[in-house]
């Protein structure tokens, strides 16, 4: 079985002076295509050579904060390849029918288009599948922040009864029994498949899922005044305005401050949110991590439970000021917005879509 191709290319290297502002999109695509070609051409021989060192990968995006990376979790081509192979392989689900990609579809910016996730044997989750783009910058995982690292969260969807429903120890045994994976892991980590390396492989692939090249990015950070339409520019102004104050939580450029907020979706929350993981601290009831808005047009339905089906409904929710929940964020106060302004705002949100990124990650 041949080793997988490294068909991910979204690399911006400041050292090589690739400035987003200096490259119109066509040139970026050409550059990415060349990188893609080189990545393919530079594939290691299929003959296992564990003496060679993994090839480091630097993801440095000029207008993003530096990617937080702990020692020992550096990105390498080999680790990304191992993680990618696992991500699209149903081997990690009890019935060998659901890969990670069944709830995180590349063409939907690694969400799934459903209100809530559907796991093995059709079991319904109670939460919406989030995008995985830019998870490398998340200081904690899951909507309630209950998990501290991308590595340790790997256990969650694999073991969760409503997702893949496979004991992690069994997942390790399954993957370790496949020579192909042992080869990949030896290349990537110089170790066998084990609890640490399996998690590290998936986490490394997920860290490499970056999205930074939307029309908004080109307008805001690359000086391309034509990247946004007049309506989108008006929408951006509304987004930043004191009255709507979206940027209070959806802080640029990542479009989230990762805080936990009760956004007044309900008066009574069936899902306690962050309170679930903080031993029922009452103040945490109904709090969920502020979601990224990048690729938001692709990642509906919206909210933690997918209860709002469209961006129009989302804007209506915030314009209304939400419910009267006693712990609702003080930032959710409502605002008046005309039909034109609403259309402009949604048009701006659509300009946060980065098709160049997700296409790079197609299997």
């Amino acid at each position: 079985m041949p080793l997988p191709a490294l068909n991910w290319v979204a690399i911006m290297d400041t050292k090589s002076k690739i400035e987003l502002g200096a490259f119109p999109i066509a040139k970026i695509m050409v550059a990415m295509g060349m990188l893609f070609f080189l990545a393919q051409a530079c594939q290691p021989d299929t003959e296992l050579n564990i003496q060679s060192e993994p090839s480091p990968v630097l993801i440095s995006i000029n207008h993003f904060p530096e990617m937080p990376l702990e020692e020992g979790k550096e990105l390498t081509e080999e680790a990304i390849a191992a993680g990618k192979a696992l991500f699209f392989d149903p081997i990690l689900s009890r019935n060998r029918d659901l890969p990670c990609s069944s709830c995180h579809l590349t063409q939907l910016a690694f969400s799934d288009g459903r209100a809530v996730a559907i796991g093995t044997e059709g079991r319904l989750h109670n939460r919406n599948s989030p995008t995985l783009f830019n998870v490398a910058w998340q200081p904690y995982l899951f909507m309630d922040g209950g998990n501290p690292t991308l590595e340790s969260q790997v256990i969650g969807p694999i073991e969760e009864h409503r997702e893949m429903d496979l004991p992690y120890s069994e997942a390790i045994a399954r993957v370790a029994a496949v020579d192909y994976y042992q080869e990949l892991f030896q290349r990537a980590f110089k170790e066998d498949v084990n609890p640490k390396t399996l998690a590290l492989a998936l986490a490394t692939y997920e860290r490499a899922l970056v999205s930074f090249n939307s029309a908004f990015d080109r307008y805001e950070y690359a000086g391309d005044a034509s990247a946004l339409s007049p309506g989108q520019k008006r929408g951006l102004a509304l987004f930043k305005s004191a009255e709507l104050n979206c940027v209070a939580c959806h802080v640029l450029p990542l479009t989230t401050d990762f805080s936990f907020q009760n956004n007044g979706l309900y008066e009574v929350y069936e899902d306690p949110g962050r309170a679930r993981v903080t031993n029922n601290i009452p103040e945490h009831e109904g709090q969920f991590k502020v979601a990224t808005l990048r690729n938001i047009a692709l990642t509906g339905p919206y909210m933690h439970d997918g209860s709002l089906g469209s961006l129009e409904e989302v804007v209506d929710h915030y314009a209304s000021g939400g419910s009267n929940h006693r712990l609702k964020s003080s930032l959710i106060t409502g605002f008046s917005i005309s039909a034109q302004e609403k259309a402009d705002l949604i048009s701006f949100l659509e300009a946060l879509t980065d098709t160049t990124s997700y296409k790079a990650y197609m299997p």
């Binding site: 209950g146 256990i155 969650g156 073991e159 969760e160 390790i172 609890p195 993981v277 903080t278 031993n279």
Partner: protein, 265 residues
Amino acid sequence: MKLKYFVAALALATFMTSCEDDTPSQNPSTTTSEVPVILHYDFKYGTTDFALNQEFTSDSGYTIRYTLATFYLAKPVIMDDAGNSTALDPEYYIIRPDVMMSNMGTIEAGHAHMFNLSIGVDAETNTETGGNGMQPTDFSDVNHPLAPQPEGMYWSWASGYIFVKIEGEIDYEGDGTYDQSFKYHLGTDPFRKDRSTMLHTSVEKGDTLDITMTVDYQQFLHGIDLHSEILTMSMGDARPLAEKMMNQFDAATSFELGSDHGHKK
């Protein structure tokens, strides 16, 4: 003359070899002044030996069987009467009903005053609410007690180890059909139980310090309503039940010096 040299060399070699026997070994397990510590396990259901999937009768007269009964022990320590403590090694143990004993390393011969350990995983290692600590994905060695376990002894959604995981089934009518399951997944830092046992014994070269941990799984369910108090994951509205069941487990557990296996000091 040559024979004299040969005899002298032989005598010297014999002398040196005999001296080697008295040289302290670099291996702690063979150091003469060190005493092995062994924790024995005695799992009971009342007066009956306990085993998974074996039928027992509850206090209410229901037929029950346990399908899972796994727990963590952490950081055992022996203290002498001067208050000096010796941390035993290894630090973590995962205990199932088929485990007979745990070798807990050695202590220096002398007076063993107190035996301390935790039921559960210490707060420094147990990760909660997104904090730092250890997770099963930190371990390359699948045999480490804190590595992923077949019964799933870790909550990834709240990132913490499950200290005690007990599951079983209840046959209310006694008709041979199990009507209800019970699941007690007990953990989070406030629910860990730190135990101290007075030993007050002296151990000498050649001894073994034997301690026995007894868990009575009938006592564990004593006073529990097997209709309404049957499920907790230590979260949400079922958190009070988790606290209660952890107290039940604590009460069902005892430690004493000695063992039933003939090693009693």
